[in-house]
């Protein structure tokens, strides 16, 4: 449905987005994952026609966005990272105002505004002002405002920042419902848990570039190990020697933490701990984890996702 090819954006000497390509189809959610400053928001801005790309194209159903920008905009709904609402205008007025920008009017506008509120579970607060809403309710209304013109493609720029888990789950339910209706969603976040729960495919960005793009299973396959044992200990471990032990896939040591990758935690962790004890390393703390996007990002960039 939406295809971006080699999008590039530069401000002065700083290239914010460098040759990003991605695509999303109907009934699919793709996650755009990356740390702050990775270029996610700029990519979203180019996808919805807010920021012109220095080079590259955005194509919707075979038609270039530049050929008819307004036609493209009518098919896209943007949920900005900020809560972009008129706080002293009622919820329904907010929706009607934004809906009118897409040519909706009269009964159709009222119907669509009502449907959008219903969708995010705020129908009973239609006449209330967002200023009286909780953070989670504002976030839901923020999404509803992007839905009022019934777009085919929804671009969500970190739509759950700063809200409680209950509201987050409610938003996830909304997004899954939209996916079930055949909408195409691009969801940017730096929370890997959100991507793991929601997304069919993941595009990982860092420093303006796509560093990995695949399904979750495909990305995990890129990791050297499916599970890991993290050990906090004293002294420096002979990493090369430990790597040769049976079942050990890889070993990293930094800041007093030893991360040992393995495919079978139950079979390998005990011999690893015995190996460490035999060499006089005093273990202070042990933790195990399965492979996730955090470890994938660490593996790809050498940095934590939330650095």
């Amino acid at each position: 449905m939406l295809q971006a090819n080699q999008l590039t954006k530069t401000y002065g000497d700083h290239t914010v987005v460098a040759g990003v390509s991605l695509h999303v189809t109907a009934g699919e959610i793709i996650g755009l994952l990356g740390p702050n400053g990775a270029g996610k928001t700029t990519t979203i801005s180019m996808l919805c026609g807010l920021t012109p790309a220095d080079s590259g194209t955005v194509v919707i159903d075979g038609k270039s966005m530049h050929d008819d920008i307004n036609a493209a905009k009518r098919r896209i709904g943007l949920v900005p990272q900020d809560i972009a609402l008129y706080e002293t205008l009622s919820a329904i007025r907010n929706l009607e105002t934004f809906g009118a920008l897409y040519g909706l009017r009269g009964g159709e506008l009222k119907q669509r505004a009502g449907d959008a509120l219903e969708m995010v579970g705020l129908a009973d607060r239609a006449g209330d002002k967002p200023a009286t809403f909780s953070g989670g309710m504002k976030r839901r209304l923020n999404i509803a405002c992007a839905l009022v013109h019934n777009p085919d493609i929804l671009l969500l720029d970190e739509p759950t920042v700063g809200i409680d888990p209950q509201s987050r789950n409610a938003i996830f339910d909304n997004l899954e419902s939209l996916k079930a209706r055949g909408k195409a969603l691009i969801y940017t976040t730096h929370y890997m848990e959100e991507v793991e729960r929601l997304c069919d495919r993941v595009v990982i960005m860092d420093h303006g570039r796509v560093i990995a793009s695949d399904t979750l299973a495909g990305l995990y396959r890129q990791l050297p190990a499916a599970q890991s044992l993290t050990v906090e200990l004293e002294g420096t471990v002979n990493v090369t020697a430990l790597s040769r032990e049976a079942g050990v896939k890889n070993v990293q040591q930094q800041n007093g933490r030893l991360i040992v990758g393995m495919d079978d935690l139950a079979a390998t962790s005990a011999p690893v701990l015995a190996w460490l004890a035999a060499r006089g390393h005093r273990v202070n703390h042990i933790a195990s984890d399965r492979a996730n996007l955090e470890s994938l990002f660490l593996n790809l960039t050498g940095r934590q996702l939330r650095d």
């Binding site: 919805c48 920008i69 036609a71 990272q81 972009a84 920008l101 897409y102 040519g103 405002c145």
Partner: protein
């Protein structure tokens, strides 16, 4: 086109609802100019209000018939509020600012002034102690004193009251004078003879009740003219209303402040991501700016009409001139406010920093435009400079259509100038507007 009109209507409606739903802010925006204009209007000559009299202390160290007449005449003068008192008390009251000036008549003032009437020697000195912060008072007191002293002294000289001592003394002085030539002495003594003849006739008239005495008699020197002041108004039945001037100034000032709110509001909207959401819709940038301009023009015009409605209802302000011209001024100033707000948004970086600078710029504009004090009392060079200030044109246009009562043709130049400045502000705003969040 339909989508654009639909969007424009929705955006303008949204702005109107947002503005007018904030009742407290609206009330302040309306009340502030009305209250301040009422204050300034009452200061600068409101309607039929009488000018206040200048408080003056008088110290009479002479206590003669002449100074008595002068003090009585000063007390009767409508310009002054004269209070006789002791010299130390008078000086203390001037020092405290309770009196604007103290006039001190020295001892023997009456006799000395009469003697000095025809000679340029030994003139008695009237001391005027004045408050330096009220220096204009000095000119007023000097003028009033000159009038009343001349009248009282000349009356004494020509009336012959008190066995004619001033004239006899003057005759004696002239006779003894070594500085005067014989011709000069002869001429002056001849004048004194004439005066004595008049005095004799005046005395006879008083006895018989006929002649000049019966018509008011020897009144001394009088001003040889009277004045009739007439305010020049297009409508002879109307009167100048100081509130017309102050309402023009204050409405312009506070509506420009509303323009600042527009500019800062746009910056806040950009910070909140609202511009991002609006711009993601299939509408042009120019439509977004146009909607902001249209809604602000409407709001500013409605506010000005409300302020003038209060001025008409409670302060006697009248649209003596062209109503069409007045409405044209209101609308063009509304547009100026809108483009001024856009200019602020275009040049400003953050809402916080922009507000302070914009307030300063607005205060300069209204000060130089004559909103606080009428521009006609500015120095000439400043009057010329202020022609480059849009508020000057707006205020001049509004006063032309209110108390000056001029016709529509007098509104054309102010409307054109105001629209010209709007065009300039709008063009710079569009050129400099930073669309990137």
């Amino acid at each position: 086109m339909n989508i654009s009109m639909n969007a424009l209507r929705a955006l303008v409606r949204k702005d109107l609802i947002l503005y007018f739903s904030n009742r407290r802010s609206l009330l302040i925006t309306l009340l502030a100019p009305i209250l301040i204009a009422a204050f300034f209007g009452s200061l600068f000559g409101a309607g039929n209000a009488k000018p206040s009299r200048i408080p003056i202390a008088v110290v009479d160290l002479d206590n003669s018939a002449v100074t008595g007449k002068i003090v009585a005449a000063m007390q009767a003068d409508a310009t002054l509020d004269v209070q006789p008192m002791a010299e130390t008390a008078a000086r203390e009251l001037v020092l405290k600012g309770k009196m604007r000036a103290a006039v001190v008549f020295p001892a023997n003032f009456g006799a000395d002034a009469s003697r000095a009437m025809f000679r340029n020697i030994d003139k008695p000195q009237v001391r005027i102690d004045y408050d330096p912060s009220q220096s204009i008072t000095l000119q007023v007191v000097n003028g009033v004193l000159a009038q009343h002293i001349m009248k009282a002294v000349s009356q004494t000289m020509f009336s012959g009251d008190g066995a004619n001592p001033p004239l006899a003394s003057a005759r004696e002085d002239v006779g003894k004078s070594a500085a005067m030539s014989e011709t000069e002495k002869r001429d002056l003594l001849g004048l004194f003879d004439s005066v004595e003849r008049v005095q004799t006739r005046f005395s006879l008239d008083k006895t018989t009740g006929a002649g000049t005495a019966g018509k008011g008699g020897m009144g001394g020197f009088e001003l040889p003219f009277t004045t009739k002041a007439e305010a020049v108004m297009s409508n002879r039945d109307s009167k100048y209303n100081g509130y017309s001037q102050s309402f023009a100034g204050m409405s312009v000032q506070f509506i420009l402040f509303m323009g600042i709110d527009l500019g800062v509001g746009l910056l806040l909207a950009r910070r909140l991501g609202l511009w991002k959401r609006l711009r993601s819709a299939p509408i042009s940038r120019s439509l977004l700016l146009l909607s902001a301009m249209a809604s602000t023009t409407l709001i500013a015009s409605l506010l000005m009409l409300c302020i003038y409605a209060a001025a008409i209802a409670f302060f006697g302000v009248r649209i003596e001139g062209s109503i069409a011209g007045f409405l044209g001024m209101v609308l063009s100033f509304g547009l100026l406010t809108a483009t001024f707000g856009l200019l602020i948004a275009a040049l400003g970086k953050t809402p916080e920093a922009t507000r302070g600078l914009a307030v300063l710029a607005t205060l300069l504009l209204v000060m130089l435009g004559g909103a606080w004090v009428p521009s006609f009392i500015f120095p000439e060079w400043l009057q010329t400079v202020s022609l480059a200030i849009p508020t000057r044109w707006a205020i001049d246009g509004l006063t032309a259509m209110t108390w000056r009562g001029l016709d529509f043709s007098a509104a054309i130049a102010p409307i054109a100038a105001t629209l010209g400045f709007s065009l300039l502000f709008g063009a710079v705003a569009i050129w400099r507007f930073d669309w990137e969040e």
